[in-house]
């Protein structure tokens, strides 16, 4: 067997040790990893740039639409306000009490032998109408004439209004004698309280043609 002498074994060992240097290998691995990471980062950055462009486009679209939307929202609020205000005003208009039809009805109830001296009507807070009527009635039975007026009023008001109450507040005979149609007749003074509420369907504010049911009213 031939003797083989390696005189360069130390150099070879050193070279091998240099090649196996963990730090060098580690640096190479890190460098490779760093390169991969950089590539991945660049790929992500490219995607982000794309997204930024999309954002710019979206912002541009929104900036074009925004003034119109703001104006539309403002107009919408204004219109809603107008609608609700009109609704409330219409409600007020619809729920008000019309006095003209009432006065017309009242005039139909007053016969020739009765005279109204005072009418005081009030629309109460709860929507009820309160009327105080004072007057004079003449006839052989003046109290009966006053009662006839009360009943006629009850009947007339009952046709158009609800919860109608017509009651005498006062009814007293007077000593005065009045001459009607050439005959002397006794007189009575009366006071009537009437209360009622308006119906859902209200009478027209324009009075209809006057019909002389029981003669012309005196008051």
């Amino acid at each position: 067997m031939a003797l083989h002498l390696n005189l360069l074994h130390e150099e070879i060992l050193e070279q091998r040790q240099r090649q196996r240097d963990p730090l060098k290998i580690g640096m190479m691995v890190l460098g490779g990893l760093g390169a991969l990471m950089l590539l991945y980062y660049l790929w992500n950055a490219y995607k982000v740039l794309e997204i930024r462009n999309r954002l710019g486009q979206a912002q541009h679209d929104w900036s074009k639409v925004e003034p119109k939307v703001t104006a539309a929202q403002k107009r919408s609020t204004e219109l809603n306000g107008i609608i609700s205000t009109t609704k409330v005003l219409d409600g007020m208009i619809d729920t008000r009490f019309f006095w003209a039809p009432f006065l017309e009805k009242l005039s139909r109830c007053v016969a020739l032998n009765a005279q109204l001296t005072s009418i005081d009507g009030t629309v109460l807070d709860d929507g009820k109408i309160s009327i105080v009527i004072e007057g004079l009635a003449a006839g052989r039975e003046p109290r009966a004439a006053a009662e006839e007026l009360r009943q006629l009023l009850l009947e007339q008001l009952g046709q158009s209004y609800q919860e109608v109450k017509v009651e005498f507040k006062t009814l007293e005979d007077l000593d005065t004698i009045v001459k009607i149609g050439g005959s002397n007749q006794a007189m009575a003074r009366f006071g009537i309280n009437a209360t009622f509420t308006t119906q859902a369907s209200k009478p027209s504010p324009t009075p209809g043609p006057r019909t002389k049911v029981r003669g012309e009213p005196r008051s």
Binding site: G26, L30, N44, E104, P207
Partner: protein, 191 residues
């Protein structure tokens, strides 16, 4: 099973540790200062894009809704304009009494006067721009038939006027005529 034995010198172990530390630092720096902020920025922008796209989509609905509302509110708008037109420019005390005087004069009732009793705002929030004015209208000499016609005409001509009280008294010196006092409230636009 074979066990591979790696004999590392102290120096090599140190270098390996150093490399491992380098790896940790690299990963930390990469995620904390590069990829992390980039991803955050991407997420933020995506969120903004979604928000803007949602807004644009909603805006189309909003515009359509407003256009529809505009059509639906046409009647209300016209009515509102008509009601508003009932309140002329200027203080009501300046124009309402003369208007009433002229109105009743046209109805053959002379000497009509109107005075302001009080005014106050409405409680309803929808009527924030409106005021309630209470007036006392006095007709010292009115025929009952003319009064009835005049009241009907007034109630027709002034939809925002509501008569809350009527007082009619006969004139002792002239029973043909009555003395009338009316309390009326009107809704008027704040000027």
């Amino acid at each position: 099973m074979k066990q591979i034995k790696v004999n590392l010198s102290k120096d090599q172990i140190k270098k390996l540790m150093l490399s491992a530390m380098g790896f940790v630092v690299l990963v930390y720096v990469y995620f904390s200062f590069f990829l992390g902020p980039l991803n955050n920025s991407r997420d933020t922008m995506l969120g903004q894009i979604n928000e803007l796209q949602g807004k644009v989509a909603n805006s189309k609905n909003e515009l359509t809704k407003t256009a529809k509302l505009e059509k639906q509110a046409e009647t209300a708008t016209n009515r509102f304009a008509a009601l508003k037109a009932l309140s002329p420019e200027g203080a009501p005390i300046a124009w309402f009494p003369p208007r009433m005087k002229t109105f009743f004069a046209n109805q053959e009732i002379d000497k009509a006067t109107a005075r302001l009793e009080n005014s106050n705002p409405y409680k309803e929030t929808d009527l924030a721009n409106w005021m309630r004015y209470n007036w006392v209208i006095e007709l010292p000499q009115a025929d009952f038939a003319s009064l009835g016609k005049a009241v009907a005409a007034l109630e027709n001509a002034e939809p925002l006027l509501s008569i809350t009280r009527v007082n009619i008294k006969t004139l002792s010196e002239d029973p043909q005529f009555q003395q009338v006092t009316m309390v009326a409230s009107t809704a008027m636009v704040k000027r």
